[in-house]
């Protein structure tokens, strides 16, 4: 029905992004996760002189965070 706009047909803005967009989003979450928490870990390293342990913990934490974000944002909405 062409004139019936109120209940949006499928493909409306409430759908998760399609194909390429979703791929880029997932990739950017995974990389951003490692970078952000790796950097925070590195700062902690500089501060407490832990010799790289904090950076490692940060990167792993960031990876986990990135994966959680991908699942939460792009996984099947419950």
């Amino acid at each position: 029905m062409a004139g019936d706009q109120t209940p949006r047909p499928s493909g409306g803005p409430d759908e998760p992004p399609t194909g390429a967009g979703q791929g880029w989003t997932a990739l950017s979450y995974l990389i951003a996760g490692m970078l952000v928490w790796g950097f925070i870990g590195w700062l902690v390293d500089k501060w407490l002189d832990t010799g790289g342990i904090a950076t490692g913990i940060g990167v792993v934490l960031g990876m986990a965070g990135g994966i959680v974000l991908v699942v939460r944002r792009l996984g099947t909405p419950t």
């Binding site: 493909g11 759908e15 399609t18 950017s28 979450y29 959680v68």
Partner: protein, 265 residues
């Protein structure tokens, strides 16, 4: 730009090509090396703008039901961006962004395409300033659209706070902030810039490499010819990259706009 042939014939072209090769002599005042107000790059950007305006105005001046060839091309480009990018990514709300996406797509496609047009042979997008500015426009646009659609607080709440239990939010919010508000414009600009920069560099290496070898030793002539054949092949590869990057830039901009408009589930 006409001095290049002489330089090549005399075997004086510096062989490994450097970043300096991207800074062309000024046109106005002619031939000056430290003046960047009006260079070949500037001229190409204006030509691209002019060509696009004239093409779309001319092809849609007298629209006909059975389109003329020019009208058909213009309509196909617009139809492609509208249906395959705007509506595909954003849905029905995407139609109102189709004109901007078409302009963006055509501008990037044409400026990229200068990289392999004889006598132009360099893309303005191989200077970071142009992709950076296009990325800045996309960045301001998707944030503005999001803020207007949701309101300031709700937009940032929606884009920074993912649906997750409260105890992992402190880990997720910095990642969201970084990937949405810092990485996006940066990666848009760098992706386009790096592709065009590398493409121009690659063609330079193979063309100038041929001349460098032939002037170093005449026995290397067959290798030089091979190098120039590679240049031709790489030009076709460049054409692929040119179209792909124009498409990717537009698709990603559309995807960001979609993200800004998305409702919370």
């Amino acid at each position: 730009m006409f001095g290049q042939a002489n330089v090549l014939a005399q075997g004086e072209a510096a062989f490994p090509p450097s970043v300096g090769d991207f800074y062309l002599p000024s046109i106005l005042p002619w031939g000056e090396h430290d003046s960047y107000w009006f260079t070949k790059i500037t001229a190409m950007v204006w030509i691209a703008v002019g060509v696009l305006i004239i093409f779309f105005l001319a092809s849609y001046r007298k629209p006909q039901l059975v389109p003329t060839k020019k009208q058909w091309i213009a309509e196909s480009i617009y139809g492609f961006v509208r249906n395959n990018i705007a509506v595909d990514m954003i849905g029905h709300a995407g139609v109102r962004f189709a004109p901007y996406f078409t302009t963006l797509f055509c501008f990037i496609l044409l400026t990229n395409f200068f990289a392999i047009v004889p006598f132009f042979q360099i893309s303005p997008n191989s200077h970071i300033a142009f992709p950076a500015f296009l990325a800045a426009i996309s960045y301001v646009m998707f944030n503005w659209i999001g803020i207007r659609h949701h309101g300031f607080v709700k937009y940032f709440k929606h884009s920074l706070i993912p649906p997750a239990p409260w105890y992992i939010l402190p880990i997720l919010i910095p990642i969201e902030f970084f990937s949405t508000f810092l990485v996006r414009p940066f990666s848009l600009a760098v992706r386009l810039f790096a592709n065009m920069f590398a493409g121009h560099m690659l063609l330079l290496v193979f063309t100038l490499g041929g001349f460098a070898m032939i002037s170093a030793n005449t026995w290397l002539a067959p290798v030089s010819v091979l190098s120039w054949v590679m240049t031709v092949a790489l030009t076709f590869l460049e054409f692929l990259v040119i179209c792909l990057q124009a498409y990717v830039f537009t698709v990603l901009t559309a995807s960001y706009v979609q993200g800004a408009l998305a409702e919370e589930h």
